[in-house]
């Protein structure tokens, strides 16, 4: 499992301000920090406050690429904004995200095929987030079929079972775990899976990091491939490295945590 660094997001004040002032320093600092902390992708989100999100996305992509070779995960509900970002990406990117809805899937998967991008597919549709695993898996199947019809290889499709905060949607926890396992049975080779790690603790006043870390370990045990999360949480990265060893994904050695962080 790898982390898609979440920090370059206009929801954070320093990034919002950087976008407003066209000051690349905070963006580049977070790009470098997340890169050296072991992120494998960097999420790029202009946030709701950007006055011209297309321009902001392009700028964020460009200034980020100046300081890192990591691929980017372009995060927006506006597909014109994502396409603007894809046009300037130097390496194949990831699109974050598309629900199991037409015509959104058509737009996104066609775009992914054109730019050789990976796609995060959300197990939800017009009716919202399903309550149980079965409905999530059914929507995942729709995403798999749609992606396949556009020639997207399964290793480029990341199914997000959608996580709710554990204080409001406690009953979703086990359903998410079950979905992670069942998604792997939908195709051969199997699609990949992704979650928004911090969503599990959204709005919680207690120890959010503890909840995120525990969730990460449990999700890896259920086959999770990627998570949008805080790459700079050293404890989280160490837990991921350890869970990978326990799941026989990486071969153990005494420096396994360092190597997980450093090895790209």
């Amino acid at each position: 499992m790898f982390i898609i660094g979440e920090r370059i997001n206009g929801m954070f004040k320093d990034i919002a301000q950087a976008i407003r002032n066209e000051d690349p320093r905070p963006v580049q600092e977070w790009a470098r920090k997340q890169d050296s902390a072991g992120a494998r992708y960097l999420d790029i989100n202009t946030g709701p406050a950007a006055s011209d999100p297309i321009k902001a996305m392009r700028w964020l992509v460009e200034v980020t690429q100046e300081v890192t070779d990591l691929p980017l995960c372009l995060d927006s509900t506006n597909y014109d904004v994502i396409e603007a970002g894809l046009e300037v990406c130097k390496r194949p990117a990831m699109i974050n995200s598309v629900p199991a809805e037409w015509p959104k899937m058509e737009r996104v998967f066609a775009m992914a095929a054109k730019y050789d991008a990976a796609v995060i597919g959300l197990a939800m549709n017009e009716e919202g987030i399903p309550k149980d695993a079965d409905t999530r898996v059914a929507l995942a199947m729709e995403l798999v079929a749609a992606a396949d019809s556009f020639g997207i290889p399964m290793e480029n499709l990341y199914i997000d079972p959608l996580v709710l905060p554990c204080n409001v949607g406690q009953d979703h926890g086990p359903e998410v775990m079950q979905t992670l396992r069942q998604v792997k049975l939908l195709a051969n080779p199997a699609p990949r899976t992704v979650v928004g790690l911090s969503n599990i603790s959204q709005g919680i006043k207690g120890n959010r990091a503890l909840i995120n870390r525990t969730f990460a370990a449990m999700a890896i045990a259920n086959g999770l491939d990627a998570a949008v999360g805080d790459a700079c949480d050293e404890e989280l990265m160490a837990i991921i490295a350890t869970a990978r060893v326990i799941m026989n994904l990486d071969i153990y050695c005494d420096s396994y945590v360092d190597i997980y962080v450093k090895q790209k």
């Binding site: 290793e155 990486d250 071969i251 153990y252 050695c253 005494d254 420096s255 360092d258 190597i259 090895q263």
Partner: protein, 325 residues
């Protein structure tokens, strides 16, 4: 109905290591040898590139070896002269390269000084144009004196020097960095130590493409399968992106096989086992053939006839297969 082969897709490949340096590159070799680079499991040409064929080396010692008498007709006349011996390995027996084992450095053998050892290495380099592998005597304390001296005396030759283990890797690594050589990182049939030692060596700033792994192998019938599974696991790890296991692999075949009863026992003592000379050659060649399938890149052989059989096997295995036609 058309047959479509199930193909594994791998995200990474084995590192390549260049052995030897020509005059232009700062050495004196006539040619260099590149090993590694596979993008698939051994010889599965239809799944990925196998850009460099495995190579076979013959062993030369700096002292007269106490080898089985059946090897004497091949090397007996040069046992006393490592340079002539090396030349014979290359010119007469078609070895791709030569391994010089500095057995004489062992305090229990001849206790040769680091300077004497360096001189033998230089003599051998002068006698042959192929890249050279230099192995210490196996005494860690002595090797950590001898190998740096050899590295210094042959600066720039890009020898493959070993074996460095967890105890003595620092002095050997430092010498390889300063004098531009490659290193053999040895581990005792243990994938975790193998990976850790590679990390320790690269942390000293010797690039990963200057390391060759010696995972420790055994002869057929003596636990070959343990080494085999370690090599297989390292290869799969490398292909899946584990860069600290992605080094080419060297196997000490002759040394192991010629310690086995099957290679040495006489036909008189074991009539059912057949002729000792043929048996030993086949034992060595069969062990090597199995290790090739496990992912070996460099095989250190002892008997010239076993070497010839293995070379032929490699030629056959390197013919590309494809299911796309």
């Amino acid at each position: 109905m058309a047959f479509s082969a199930m193909k594994e897709k791998y995200s990474s490949q084995v590192h390549t290591v260049v052995l030897g340096a020509t005059k232009e590159e700062g050495g004196t070799r006539d040619y260099t040898i590149t090993v590694g680079g596979e993008g698939a499991l051994p010889f599965l040409h239809f799944e990925g590139e196998v850009p460099h064929r495995p190579v076979v080396a013959l062993e030369v010692w700096d002292v007269v070896p106490e080898w089985h008498e059946s090897l004497a007709p091949y090397f007996g006349d040069v046992y006393n002269d490592p340079a002539a011996w090396a030349k014979k390995c290359v010119m007469e027996y078609n070895a791709d390269l030569v391994v010089l084992r500095l057995k004489g450095a062992d305090p229990d053998v001849a206790d040769a000084s680091p300077e004497d050892c360096a001189k033998v290495v230089k003599d051998v380099l002068a006698a042959v144009g192929c890249p050279l592998i230099v192995l210490g005597c196996g005494n860690p304390e002595k090797d950590s004196k001898v190998l740096p001296a050899v590295a210094e005396a042959t600066s720039g030759e890009k020898l493959l020097i070993g074996v460095a283990d967890q105890e003595n890797y620092k002095s050997i690594t430092a010498a390889c960095i300063v004098h531009n050589h490659n290193i053999i990182a040895g581990s005792p049939i243990d994938i975790n130590i193998c990976k850790q030692l590679n990390i320790l060596i690269t942390e000293m700033n010797l690039p990963a493409d200057r390391i060759v792994i010696d995972p420790t192998t055994a002869a057929l019938g003596y636990g070959l399968e343990y080494g085999y599974s370690i090599m297989e696991r390292a290869r799969i790890g490398a292909l899946q992106g584990d860069k600290m296991l992605a080094m080419p692999i060297i196997c000490n075949v002759g040394h192991e096989v010629w310690r086995s009863k099957e290679a040495n026992a006489s036909s008189e003592d074991y009539p059912a086992w057949g002729d000792q000379a043929n048996r030993s050659i086949l034992w060595e060649a069969t062990t090597a053939a199995a290790l090739l399938q496990a992912g070996a890149n460099i095989l250190i052989m002892r008997h010239p006839k076993a070497l010839a059989l293995v070379k032929q096997n490699i030629e056959e295995l390197m013919v590309p297969t494809s299911f796309d036609d």
